[in-house]
Each structure stands twice: as C-alpha cells, then as structure tokens.
C-alpha cells in the first residue's frame, strides 16, 4: 500500500498536551500533540464505550478517555493498565510545521467497511 499524505493543518493548530479532530464522513480521527511536540493520530473512539478520545487529558504519550478513564497509548492505540482493547492508529508526520495524515489507511479502512 503506498502512502498518500494529506495536509490537515498546522502543528500550532493543535494545543500542546491536547488534541483536535479530523472529521471524515465515516467518523472522526483524533490528532494528538504531546508536550514535546510529537504528533499521533487515533480513531476518535475509545475501545471501551466509544468515548471521544480527542476530549481526554493527554499525558506523556497517552490519553485518558473522558467517559470512564481508560488510558490509551498514543504510540500503539492499545489500552494500558488492566484494560484490554485497541483503537486504530493512523500514520502522521510533521513537515515544515504542517501536519500530514496518511489517508491511504482511510481508503483501506473504507474498503474494509465496504
């Protein structure tokens, strides 16, 4: 599968230790920025009860879901601690202060759904 990078905004559009969402017709992708300016993208649905991870508190390279405090790794998308579950992760990179999301994964995801 070849990567297909799409510009979704500027790095400074996302607050440090915070998140914004990329809204697609099939649901939201949460784009996280850590304290040290690393960028991660996850499906914006907690594997537990679908809580919007983009609304959680970002700490280290993890986010705590606002609904029931599940802690999800931004690096792997897996639930940390005693909880079991995983959320889809998307490749992202930062180039010249712009955020690039690999949308080939989206097409692939759509294909799975279809």
């Amino acid at each position: 599968m070849t990567s297909e990078w799409l510009d979704v905004g500027a790095l400074e559009d996302v607050p440090r230790r915070g998140a914004r969402v990329v809204r697609t017709k099939e649901g939201c992708i949460a784009v996280f920025r850590t304290a040290d300016d690393r960028i991660f993208a996850l499906n914006d649905r907690c594997p537990h009860k679908g809580g919007p991870l983009s609304q959680g508190i970002v700490h280290g390279t993890a986010v705590t879901c606002p609904l029931h405090n599940w802690v999800i790794s931004l690096e792997t998308g897996a639930a940390l601690g005693a909880d079991q579950g995983e959320v889809r992760k998307y490749a992202m990179r930062v180039e010249g202060g712009r955020l690039l999301l690999d949308v080939s994964q989206l097409r692939h995801a759509h294909a799975e759904v279809a």
Binding site: G18, R20, H59
Partner: protein, 837 residues
C-alpha cells in the same frame, strides 16, 4: 530595633456582675508556651477559679515557638502553629493585652503597669517573661541586617531578607543556629554557619555525631566553619560582611546570631525579687515573694536554667496545681532529650555523655549508612545516649535512662535496641511494642505510651490527627510522630491507613497535603515548576494529578496563576457536561432557583433553534439542555447570554446551585427572606473554584423545604436569624449536616459561609467533598477557625473576596467572544475518499 506594636485587648465578660469581685485576680506577664500551658491546666481543672489577665509584649496570641523553624523553612504557616487563637481567650473570659510590655511591678500595692499605661491589680502574679537571645557585643552588632532568632518578628524579618536570595551568615552552630541555617537555605539563600567550637551542637552531641551532623548540613549546600571566632560585623548602615578572628571576611546581607539565650529577669529584678542568672524560684515555683510565681525560661531552680519545652511544661503543671492550692506539687527536673527539627536529619541525645573514668560506653558505627550510636553507662545503668542516623529506638533507651534500669542482663545486645533485648523477632513494630506502658512517647507534652493506646481504643481514634487532637502527643515539635504512628499501627492493625502516605497518584510519592504545602512553601507557580521541584516521576503527569495541581495552583496564587486548560477535565475545559454519546449538556444559572418569562422564552427559542432533544429540570432548581453538539455550544451560549443568563457551572468543581424555598416573601411560615439570601450568596460566590463541587441551600424555616440539611453548606432561617450548617451529603453517602453556628444577620451569614468555603479551598484535597474534609480535619477544628475566631474568619473572608476578583468572569461569554475557538471546531472536514481498489 523598634517595631510598631498592635494595641488590642480582647475582653469578654462571661462572669456576671459581682462575680469578678468575688474571684481572685491572676495576672500573667508573658504569653509564651509555659504560661499558656499553665493557664490551660488551671482552666481545665477550675474554669472559674480566677479572673485572668495576660500581658503579652508580642502583638499576637500564644503560638508554638518550637515550630518557628518549619515556618522559616516554609513547611508550615503561622496559623498552623497557633496554640490558642483569639477564640480561646474569649471563650474562657481571659483578658489579653496584646503588644503590652509590662514595665513595672508594684509589690506593695500589688499592681502591674504596661508601657501603654494600663495598670491592673493582682492577687496572684505569674511572671513568664521567657528569655532573650544573647547578642555578642562585637563591633557592628547593631547594624541593620543583624538579627537574632527568637520570635515570629525575627522569622518574618529573615523571610524578608531571604527574598533577595543573597548571602547569610549564621553565628552559632547549636540547635537554633542550624535550624535557622537550613531554613534560610530552603528560602534560597547562600548560607554559612560560623561556630566557635570544634564540632556542631557540642552541648547535645559528642564529637563523632557532631561530625556526621556537619557532613549532613554541608550536603545541603551550607558552608560550615568550626573553631571560627567572630571578631566583627562590617558595614556602613547595613551589614556587608562578617570578619573572623583569623582575618577571613565572609560577605553577607543577613547575619543571624544564634549563640544562646539567657533568662529575661530584668522586670523581676527591678521589682526587688531575688534574681541570679534567672528569677530564683522554689520547687513550688514561688519567687521570693509568696504572691508571685514564675515559670518558663526566665526561672532558675537549684542553680539550673531551662530552655527545652518538656521541663517548662512540667513547671506549668506545678504552677497550675499551686494556684489551685495544691501546695504539695513540686517541680523536679528530670533528664531531657534533644532532637533537631530539620527534615531528613535524625539525631537524638539525652543525659550526660561526657567521658569519665567510672563510665563505660557501647558504640555502634556504620559509616556508609551514616549511623552512629553511643550509650554511656555507669554502674550498669544508662547515663547518656547519642543516636545519629537511626533514632528508632530512642524512646526505649530514654525510658531505660529515666528509670535507671539495671541493664546487666541485656548488655550484650543493648546497642541493637529492644528487638534484640528479648527473643522478639525483627518486627518493625517490635521496638515500640517492647516499651512499657509508662514509657514516655511525647517528651514535649509528657504523654506516655499507655495513655495514647487507651485514647486510641476508648475513643476510636483512627489517625495521627485524631491522636494529636485527643492527647496532644506529637502535636508540639512533632519529632515523635513516627512512634505515634507505630502505636496506631500496632493498636489498629490493618485498619490503620495513614492518609499522609497515600500518594496523589503514581507520578509522585507525595500526598495531596504535602504537595499543597510545598507549592506555597517553595513558591511554585506553574505545573512544570511543581513537577520539577517535587521530582515528579513522569514527564507531564497524568489525568489524576494534573487537574489537582491546576486547582492547587489556582487556589494558592489567585490573580497570578494562569489556568492550564489542558490540565482540566473536558467538562471544565469546554464549560459543559460531556454525555455518553459525546454531545454536551448546558445548564444556565438561575439565581436561587428563580427564573422569568424572558429567560424561559430564550431557553425555549434555543431549544427550537438548535434542535436540542431533551430539556429537563435538575435537582438544583435549574433547567438542563441535553444533547447539544459541541460545535453548537458557543452559539447556544450567545443566545442565552443575550437573555442575561450565564454559565451555571454544572460541570465544575465549583459553586453549583444555591437552592431556596420561597421564604417570608410568600410562605406563611417563612421567617426570613430565604430566596433573597440564596440569591445574594449565589451572586457573591459564583465562579469560585473549589476542591470538589459545592452545593448550597437556604430554607426559610425549620420545615426546611430547600433540604438545606443535606447540602455542603445549608442555611436554615429562624426568627432570631440564621442557623448555618455544613458537611452534609446526599449522593454516594447520605449524611445530615453539622451545625456550624447561629448568626443574627444576613451579612454575617455571608461572611461565615465565605470563610468556610475559603478554608475548604485552602485545606480540601482535590475531589474531597466538604463532608469528607470535615471528617478528616474535625468539625470542631473548622468551627473554631471560621466561626469562633473572628479575626481568622475575617482574614479567610478577605482572601475569598480577593480571589473572587479574578474568578467572576462568565466563561460562556469569553468563549462567545472567541476564546479557545479550537475547542469547538474540527481541524479539518475531509471530503469522502474513494475506497481503495
């Protein structure tokens, strides 16, 4: 140095007219710890025995002078070391002249006269003028910037000087000098200790222990110069340097002289009482005048003077007994122990540990672990103890010493402590378990093991604070805290759960209270600074500690701290309540539960315009709009704002609702305007952030239709005014409120409630509701501070008012105006992508 003295007299007449004339008059000169304890014992035994007047040269109430060092280092505040607040004097009908130095005693006419010209007659006089610091009469000792270390004024002067972060020289390497040095270092100064003798604290420690102590002090970045004789203090108007006899010059902006104290006996001498080094008293504490007693550091008994608190408290007991006519009560000095109040340095010494031909010693050294123990024996009995590094067995050794126990049987293993004295296994509680019931645990207050255990079992005590409240053990200098905790653990077993060691979260080993205290002590003003200074284990905390830190910083530094929205839970970040489907609910404020046609119309319009699916009346007399899409929030708020409504903070650890009934305006039973008072309270208090949510109510009569007696704070109106209740709950726990007190006016009610909430804001742990805070701290303790002590109440109220200046901004209006816009918009809307082949 001259200081402005506050002139205040607290006077309450509890006794009816005529009573005063019947009661003998007791006048006390001085308001330190010794007379404070004497009066406490006297009043406890016979509350009406005397008509009592106190003259205090310091412009304040009785406080724990031993704890000045933690105030200097920033670990405690002055309020925390007060022994008797203003309320105590009022409650016991004691007249206190603050800032009144007594200048003359007329023994013939039996009167005393203060510098402000107040003359009071006495039947019995108690002199407790304490001690004065010794000032070396070297050149330059009167320069500005040369201080002694004796009272709160000295500490405040040192704290002011420390703000410059400059250089300080402490003259004197004894107990006080070292505590001052460590305190100043903690405050950011560059500190040198100059000590005349070869080793530190030579009166309490032998040489090896003195060296270990010096290493520990130096490891904190303090320079220690021993065998250093101060020749002069140099400077023009202000101190610039200290010059030693060998010619060394130490530049300094602050010099603290801590070279000892001497009894303050001038006044007694001028009155013609017998005075040598101190005021000479018999073991009954009477001076050479039978109507005059003396107590504390100003006295001399058998050629001995006293500076540590334990014997002073024993003297106080004798004074109280004598004043009650128990003529057999006598003071007999016993061995006393010394401990240094520097966090992280453990040392203990007691008795006589000088070398001598008739003495043996047992010594244990473990240089790498920094442990040194030395026991001095004479005729198979303990004569002296020096422990450094490991003081766990100090109470056991001290008990053997005081009792003069023959140690022949256990001599082989004596130095290893009680766990080896018998066959007992190496149980961490073995040392304390091995102590006999009469072994003294708290030297300051003379509390023995048996009494503490009896209090724990008979009164169901659960925590260190409980033990302190009921027995005073570990309530003065605190150095026996570890022993008291062991007694709790031993007595309660697994049921003992010391809250103090419960860390805030996995990111730190510190508990909530420590973190709060250190935020203030170290002047930490942002989350990264807290994490850096307190050695957080994670790079940027977690979802538990960050919101707590954000609150603590906000409450500690009103107007200075910049709120960190990324450390707030989503509800507080976007000022609405997240729902299970990711939509939000919106609750506008309805002051005291009142609304109007205009507000209801605006709400109805908003519901239609934004197709809000559910509208519900809440339990707190407001209207909840549920299912609002996040991006619609600012527009919904704009419409509500336009009709005059603001955020109801239904999402916040903050003031929620003030529920009311219709009160005297409509109800035939109403005694006061409960609705009006509810609105007044809500308008005054909205916007304030608190450790957890705060729900209030005002009922217009005891029928209590607003259900005020299960709220965090509730007011029940009665004909004569307002009963203020607090610490109720009707959630996870159901609990009726406690009565805080009764006030006559609305203004007073508002002041008490604001003071209560402010104390909660300052002491409550994050997410700890008021009823849990009250259970932890004690309802009586809270009442004493926010109700009985009117000075304290006013100060709390003023701090609340100050912090409100920064918090009464409607967060909805701010966001309507464009703040945090990124919260309410997606980064980007993506078009539908063609699925991959």
């Amino acid at each position: 140095m001259t200081r402005a003295r506050e002139l205040t007299a607290v006077r309450t007449d509890v006794a009816g007219p005529g009573d005063d004339a019947a009661r003998p008059r007791l006048v006390v000169i001085g308001n330190g710890m010794a007379p404070g304890r004497a009066l406490e014992k006297l009043i406890e035994a016979a509350p009406e025995a005397y008509d009592i007047t106190i003259f205090n040269a310091e412009p304040r109430v009785n406080y724990d002078r031993i704890m000045l060092s933690p105030v200097l280092s920033g670990e405690k505040t002055f309020e925390e070391i007060i022994i008797h607040g203003d309320g105590w004097y009022v409650k016991h009908g004691v007249t206190l002249y603050k800032g009144h130095k007594v200048v003359a005693i007329d023994r013939a006419r039996k009167t005393v006269t203060s510098a402000h010209g107040v003359t009071v007659g006495y039947d019995k006089l108690l002199i407790a003028t304490g001690s004065v610091p010794v000032v070396l009469p070297i050149p330059g000792h009167t320069l500005a910037g040369v201080l002694t270390y004796r009272d709160l004024d000295d500490v405040e002067a040192m704290l002011l000087a420390a703000k410059s972060r400059g250089r300080a020289v402490v003259i004197g390497g004894g107990l006080l000098g070292l505590e001052a040095a460590v305190g100043l270092k903690e405050q950011g100064m560059d500190v040198t200790v100059v000590h005349l003798m070869p080793t530190l604290m030579e009166r309490q420690l032998d040489q090896p222990a003195g060296h270990l102590l010096q290493q520990a002090i130096e490891a904190r970045g303090i320079t220690v110069l021993t065998k250093a004789n101060t020749k002069a203090i140099l400077g023009g108007k202000k101190v610039e340097a200290v010059e030693l006899a060998d010619g060394t010059r130490l530049p300094a902006e602050l010099v603290v002289m801590a070279v000892g104290i001497r009894p303050n006996a001038e006044l007694a001498k001028a009155a013609g009482l017998q005075v040598k080094r101190g005021i000479v008293v018999a073991p009954t504490m009477h001076t050479s005048d039978p109507e005059i007693l003396a107590v504390g550091e100003c006295v001399e008994i058998d050629g001995q003077v006293f500076g540590l608190v334990a014997p002073l408290y024993e003297m106080a007991g004798v004074v109280a007994a004598q004043l009650l006519g128990q003529s057999e009560a006598k003071f007999a000095p016993t061995a006393v122990a010394t401990k240094l109040k520097v966090t992280g340095i453990n040392l203990f010494s007691a008795g006589d540990f000088a070398d001598g031909k008739d003495r043996d010693e047992i010594v244990l050294r473990d240089a790498r672990r920094g442990i040194y123990k030395r026991l001095v024996l004479k005729d198979n009995r303990l004569l002296g103890i020096v422990l450094y590094g490991d003081t766990a067995d100090s109470a056991w050794f001290f008990d053997l010493l005081r009792k003069g126990t023959d140690i022949t049987e256990m001599r082989d293993t004596l130095i290893f402590g009680p766990s080896f004295a018998g066959e007992g296994a190496r149980d961490p509680l073995a040392a304390v378990a091995a102590l006999p019931d009469e072994a003294e645990i708290c030297g300051c207050n003379g509390i023995c093991k048996g009494r503490i255990i009896a209090a724990i079992t008979s009164q169901g005590l659960q925590s260190l604070d409980d033990v302190r409240a009921h027995t005073k053990a570990s309530g003065s200098c605190g150095s026996c805290t570890g022993l008291v905790e062991q007694l709790l653990r031993m007595t309660l077993g697994d049921a003992y759960n010391p809250a103090a060691v419960q860390p805030m979260c996995g990111c730190t080993h510190l508990g909530h209270d420590d973190v709060r205290r250190l935020i203030v002590a170290k002047a930490l003003k942002c989350i990264p600074a807290v994490m850096q200074a307190l050695e957080w284990k994670t790079s940027c905390g977690c979802a538990k500690c960050r919101p707590a830190l954000n609150y603590y910083l906000l409450a500690s530094w009103p107007g200075e701290y910049e709120d960190d929205s990324q450390s707030r839970f989503i509800n507080e970040r976007v000022h609405a309540n997240i729902q299970k489907d990711g939509t939000y609910s919106v609750v506008p404020r309805m002051w005291g539960g009142l609304t109007s046609a205009k507000e209801l119309r605006a709400i109805a319009d908003v519901v239609d315009k934004f197709k809000i699916p559910t509208v519900k009346v809440t339990g707190g007399q407001r209207i909840d709009l549920l299912g609002v899409k996040k991006e619609d929030l600012p527009a919904v708020w704009a419409d509500l704002n336009a009709a005059g409504m603001i955020s109801g903070a239904a999402y916040g650890k903050a003031l929620r609702t003030v529920k009311t009934c219709v009160g005297s305006e409509w109800c035939r039973f109403g005694t006061q305007d409960s609705t009006g008072l509810g609105v007044k309270i809500e308008k005054f208090m909205w916007g304030s952030w608190t450790p957890a949510k705060v729900k209030m109510a005002v009922s217009g009569c005891p029928r209590n239709c607003a259900e005020a007696t299960c709220k965090d704070v509730g007011v029940v109106c009665v004909e004569s005014g307002f009963d203020i209740h607090f610490a109720g709950a009707a959630g996870l726990d159901v609990k009726q409120t406690e009565l805080l007190g009764h006030v006559a006016t609305e203004d007073e009610a508002v002041e008490v409630i604001a003071a209560l909430v402010q104390l909660y804001r300052e002491q409550g742990r994050y997410l700890e509701r008021i009823y849990k805070w009250a259970r932890r701290v004690g309802v009586d303790v809270i009442r004493a501070q926010v109700f009985d002590d009117k000075d304290r109440r006013r100060k709390l109220y003023e701090r609340f008012v100050y912090s409100q200046k920064f918090s009464q901004v409607d967060p909805w209006a701010e966001r309507v105006a464009g703040k945090d816009l990124h919260e309410f918009r997606p980064l980007v809307e993506m078009p539908r992508l063609e699925a991959a082949e």
